[in-house]
C-alpha cells in the first residue's frame, strides 16, 4: 500500500539543539520498521516528523513516493497509536473509533460497518458503549489500535504503545500487533526503547543513538553482527560482554595469563562476546578464548542462570542453561569460541 522514505532528515530545535542529525531510512511496502534506542536518541522526534506533529528542519519525508513535509498530519493518511493511548475520555469506545472517520466525512453507514468489524477483530465488540476509564489497560490499548486500524491508513505509527502495560500483557499485545500488522499489510513505524520488542517485531530494525542511525537491517543480522559497541551493548539481553584490549609491542592482549587464542585484527581495541556464546570450563583441543574468573553473583531465572563474574579486571556475564552449580566466590574458567568473538576498533566500530 505505501512506502515511507526518509532522506537526510534533520530536526534542529529553536536554541540549536539537534535532536535528529540526518537520518535516511527507506521502508518498503508492508514492512514493520522498529526504531530503537535509549531515551533522547531522537527516535520519537523522528516518528513525530513522519506523523507531521513536528516540523522537519531539513531533508524530506515521503509517503508512497510523495513528499509530505508541508502536508498536515490530517492529510498524510497516517494513524498513530500513542504511548498513553490518548483516547478521548468523554467519548465511548464506538465514538473514539468513529471520530476520525466522521471528521473526514465518511458516510454514517460505512463508519458503522467499519467500526463494528474492527471491533470484532480486536475483540472489543461487547465494549463499544463503555468509556475509556471503564476499560483495563489492555482494552484501552486495543481501542487505541482500533482507532488507527478503522481509518485504513497508508501508514501506522506506534509511539512506545506497550510501555504502560504489565509484562505479561505486553508479551501478548506484542504478538497481536505483529499478527495484525502482517494480516492488514500496512507499512508501520514502531518506536520503542525495549530491545526485546524491537527484536521480535521488526522486519527492519533501526538502532539509533544521539540523533543518528547506528545500524539498520534485519534484527538477527544486527544481533549477529553489531556494527558498533553501542549496538552490541544495546541489542541482546543481557548485553554483550565487552573487554578492552591492551597493546604491548604490537601484540594485543587482555591481561597476564590470558590466552587470546588468536591474533586480533590490527585495529581492534575491544573484544566482545555474548553471554550465551561462552561456556564455563575448558574445551580440550580447540583454540578458544579462555578467561580465569571469579563468580561474584548468580542469578537463577529458571530455564537459565546468569553468572556475574570478575575476569581480568572486567565484569563478564555468562549464561548457563538450567540450574547453575557455581556459587559466589568460586574460581572457574570462561571459554568463548573464536568464531563467536566480535572485534571493535578504538572508535567502537566493528572490525
Amino acid at each position: 500500500m505505501a512506502t515511507v522514505d526518509m532522506k537526510d532528515v534533520k530536526k534542529v530545535y529553536a536554541g540549536g539543539v539537534e535532536a535528529v542529525k540526518g537520518v535516511s531510512i527507506a521502508i518498503p511496502d508492508k514492512q514493520l520498521c522498529v526504531l530503537v534506542g535509549p531515551s533522547g536518541c531522537g527516535k520519537s522526534t523522528l516518528l513525530r516528523m513522519i506523523a507531521g506533529l513536528e516540523a522537519i528542519s531539513s531533508g524530506t519525508v515521503s509517503i508512497d513516493g510523495k513528499v509530505v513535509n508541508a502536508i498536515s498530519p490530517t492529510d498524510r493518511d497516517i494513524a498513530m497509536v500513542f504511548q498513553n493511548y490518548a483516547l478521548y475520555p468523554h467519548m465511548n469506545v464506538y465514538d473514539n473509533m468513529a471520530y476520525g472517520l466522521r471528521n473526514r466525512g465518511t458516510p454514517k453507514a460505512e463508519i458503522d460497518s467499519r467500526v463494528r468489524s474492527t471491533a470484532k477483530v480486536l475483540e472489543l465488540a461487547h465494549l463499544l458503549e463503555r468509556r475509556p476509564r471503564e476499560l483495563s489497560g489492555g482494552q484501552r490499548q486495543r481501542v487505541a489500535m482500533g482507532r488507527a486500524i478503522v481509518r485504513n491508513p497508508k501508514v501506522f505509527l506506534f509511539d512506545e504503545p506497550l510501555s504502560n502495560l504489565d509484562a505479561k500483557l505486553r508479551g501478548q499485545m506484542r504478538v497481536e500487533i505483529k499478527n495484525l500488522q502482517r494480516n492488514l499489510g500496512v507499512t508501520s513505524v514502531y518506536v520503542t526503547h525495549d530491545q526485546l520488542e524491537a527484536m521480535t517485531l521488526a522486519d527492519i530494525l533501526v538502532v539509533m543513538n544521539a540523533g543518528l542511525v547506528e545500524q539498520m537491517g534485519a534484527p538477527l543480522d544486527i544481533y549477529e553482527k553489531p556494527a558498533s559497541t553501542f549496538v552490541a551493548s544495546f541489542i541482546g539481553a543481557p548485553p554483550m560482554n565487552l573487554m578492552a584490549l591492551k597493546r604491548e609491542g604490537g601484540h594485543a592482549r587482555l591481561a597476564e595469563g590470558v590466552t587470546l587464542g588468536v591474533e586480533p585484527p590490527a585495529t581492534a581495541a575491544t573484544l566482545g562476546f555474548r553471554p550465551e556464546d561462552a561456556i564455563v570450563g575448558q574445551v580440550e583441543g580447540k583454540r578458544a578464548l579462555v578467561l580465569p574468573a571469579v563468580v561474584e553473583a548468580v542469578e537463577p531465572v529458571g530455564a537459565e542462570s546468569f553468572l556475574h563474574c570478575a575476569a581480568t579486571g572486567d565484569r563478564v556475564l555468562v549464561r548457563v542453561s538450567g540450574r547453575a552449580t557455581a556459587k559466589p566466590g568460586d574460581k572457574l574458567s570462561i571459554t568463548a569460541s573464536l568464531d563467536k568473538i566480535h572485534w571493535f576498533d578504538a572508535a567502537g566500530k566493528r572490525v
Binding site: T74, M80, L87, Y88, P89, Y99
Partner: protein, 282 residues
C-alpha cells in the same frame, strides 16, 4: 475520616450545627419577618416563629405592593436581575474559555504579553475603573440598557486563569491524537475541549451567576429608570423610601424573593458544582 469515635462525631456535628445556625438564622429571621404585619415588625421584639400573614404579604408584594413603592413590579425586577446575572455568567464563561484556549493551544507572537495583560486586570476591580467605564457607557449610549449592565462586567481574568490551568492539564497526546484524527481548531474546541470542560463550566457558572446576581455598585450607577432596576437596587430604594414609612413586610418579602433564584441555581447544579471543584474527569 480522621477519627471515628462517638465523641468526635458529636463534636463535629456540634461545630457544623453552630455554623449552620450562624449562616441560616438571618435568612430564617428574614423569612419570619416576611410573614408578619408591618405593625408587628415595627414593635420589637420580633417573634421567633412565622406569623400568619404569609399569603397576605406575598400576594400584596407580588400583586402591586412593590410596584406601588418602587414604580416597578417584582416580576420586572427579577427579570432584569436574571438577564444581568445570566448575561454576566455566560458572557464571562464564553470570553474566558476562548481566551484561555488561545493562550494555551496556539503559538502566536506576544502570547505571554497577552497573558500578562489579562493577568494584570486582576489588580483592577470594577471599583477602580468605574469612572472611565461609566464615561464609556455614556458615550456609547448604553445607560439604562441590559448591555450597559452586562458588558463592563464580563471580562474575567479569574475565569481565564481557571480555564488556563485546566487546559494545561490536558495531555499533549490528546491534542495530537485529535490532529491526526483530522480535527481542526474549531472541531477540537467543540468536540473535545468543551465536553471535557463541562464540570468546570458548571462550577464557574454557579459562582459567576451569584456574582452577577448580587452586583450592587455598577447597576446603581448605570441604571436611572426604575424599570431597569435590579432587585438588589430596588431593595435599597424600598428601604430609603422617602415619602412614607418603610414597608418592612414588603421589603422582607422582596428580600426572600431575591434569595430564591441563586438558591435554585446552587441546588440545581450542586452535583456538577462539587464535581467541577474536586475532580477533573480524565
Amino acid at each position: 475520616m480522621i477519627g471515628s469515635s462517638r465523641f468526635r462525631t458529636y463534636v463535629a456535628h456540634a461545630v457544623l450545627l453552630v455554623g449552620i445556625l450562624i449562616v441560616a438564622f438571618p435568612i430564617y429571621y428574614t423569612f419570619v419577618a416576611s410573614t408578619h404585619t408591618l405593625q408587628t415588625i415595627l414593635r420589637p421584639p420580633l417573634p421567633l416563629l412565622p406569623g400568619g400573614e404569609f399569603w397576605n404579604n406575598y400576594s400584596e408584594a407580588l400583586l402591586g405592593g412593590v410596584n406601588r413603592i418602587g414604580g416597578v413590579g417584582v416580576d420586572v425586577l427579577l427579570f432584569n436581575t436574571l438577564v444581568m446575572a445570566l448575561g454576566i455568567a455566560i458572557g464571562k464563561i464564553c470570553i474566558s474559555i476562548l481566551s484561555a484556549y488561545a493562550i494555551v493551544f496556539f503559538r502566536f507572537p506576544l502570547r505571554m504579553v497577552f497573558f500578562w495583560l489579562i493577568f494584570i486586570t486582576l489588580m483592577l476591580p470594577v471599583e477602580v475603573r468605574i469612572l472611565p467605564t461609566y464615561k464609556v457607557m455614556v458615550d456609547l449610549n448604553l445607560i439604562d440598557t441590559y448591555a450597559g449592565l452586562i458588558v463592563p462586567l464580563i471580562a474575567s481574568a479569574t475565569a481565564t486563569l481557571l480555564f488556563r490551568q485546566f487546559f494545561m492539564t490536558i495531555p499533549g497526546e490528546l491534542v495530537e491524537a485529535a490532529r491526526v484524527d483530522g480535527a481542526g481548531p474549531w472541531r477540537f474546541f467543540f468536540d473535545i475541549l468543551l465536553p471535557l470542560s463541562r464540570t468546570n463550566i458548571a462550577a464557574l457558572f454557579v459562582i459567576l451567576f451569584i456574582y452577577g446576581w448580587t452586583q450592587y455598585l455598577w447597576p446603581l450607577l448605570v441604571t436611572n429608570h426604575n424599570d431597569m432596576n435590579t432587585i438588589v437596587i430596588a431593595l435599597r430604594k424600598m428601604v430609603s423610601f422617602a415619602d412614607a414609612d418603610t414597608q418592612w413586610h414588603l421589603v422582607m418579602v422582596t428580600a426572600m424573593l431575591a434569595i430564591v433564584p441563586p438558591i435554585l441555581v446552587v441546588v440545581g447544579m450542586q452535583r456538577w458544582f462539587v464535581r467541577g471543584l474536586v475532580e477533573s474527569e480524565k
